[in-house]
Amino acid sequence: MAIVLYGVSTYNCQRVTSALLEFGIEDFELIKVDLKEREHFSPEYLAMQPFHQVPVFESGDYRLYESRAIVRYFAEKYKDAGPSILGSTLEEKALVNQWVDTEAHQFNDFAFAPWSMEYLMSWRLKRPLDEALVAPLYEKLGYFLDVAEKQLSKTKYLAGNFFSLADLNIAPSLLRVSVLQPELINDRKNVRAWFESITSRPAFKKMLEADKGWRFPYGPFTNEEAQKLRTS
């Protein structure tokens, strides 16, 4: 059954595309949903995803949305394609899930999403960054990355010594951090090594090639290089 993914270029769409590629699935159709033109509010799209969000996974008449649910489905379905990114024992799985949820709540919702949105808006609308908005979010990002730094002094990846769903989920977001304010990554030794490792995976690189909508050349950048990009 042909696989279709609706939605490109946002970090959550990239999460889903990179997951498929991790499992060696290269035969899928990637369809752009034009968010700027509000295509996600069209009746056709709402019939698929009533919360007007990307991405959506479709195979025949089976559809699934919520990027974290989609990648979890792939991880189950393609379990035998390689080492399990869900974890092998009950305890490993629990720790993977703990870090998947921590990424969602302590990094993404709490800090990364509003922070990166403000950068996007200020660039798109050609207005200055709202520093009062960004400063506390930047601190929260820093706190999360301090916790990650400590964890990564004990384990190679977030949930243990194996690449898991938690690392996969955060990689596209960290790429954006590395472009916008890379000192958050560069100034933390373990985070920096881990970031380089998860974003140099073949599947991640293939995802960036498949996703032609991605604007910036991808990192890692030095703090100075990113400063140049920000002011260009």
Partner: protein
Amino acid sequence: MGIIVLGSYLSPYTLRVLIELEELGVDYELKLVNLKQGEHRTPEFLKMQPFGQVPVLQDGELTLFESRAITRYLAEKFDGQGTPLLGKSMKEKALVNQWVEVESQNYDRPLISIVEQVVWTPSWGKTTNEEIVAAEMAKLEKVLDIYEVQLTNHKYLAGDFFSLADLGHLPGTHLLVNIGKKGAIFAARPHLNAWWEDISSRPSFKKIMAKTS
């Protein structure tokens, strides 16, 4: 040594785990964390949960945080005991996960903002910000419209079976509807309301709610 839950009856995230333990028929010990006295911010607590939040689960050597990771772990560990919560086929399981994400991303966030204003803020002796309430209620009502459509076509969120997805809505919705007195937005949507009446009549929910009063 059995299962230990560190948490508070004030926390809907703790209650989610306790309700599930009842559904699974699993014994546990509850160690209360005094949120009012900031016990969740002490160095000892932060060693276990670096973000200073409840609940935390201890099961033998395993220490686990994030309530949805905890509920998923318990559902997997005790699969076959008590109420089945995950779905049977791979596709069913994925739909359960989809609605767990919807609850986490789209439902819980406006709900908790409203509960914070209408329930917790007065309890701290402060004034409710009615502007925030109005804005968040508008967001939540849009989400509830989507739920109404889903529940017109299915008895429960992920299909015709009660799952982790429905269970996750119980404690927060209780705070919103029963304590916060915002039930009118449910009553206005008949299928949503019927679903709420159904899931909130489950013995597991009633048993845990009796402990919070």
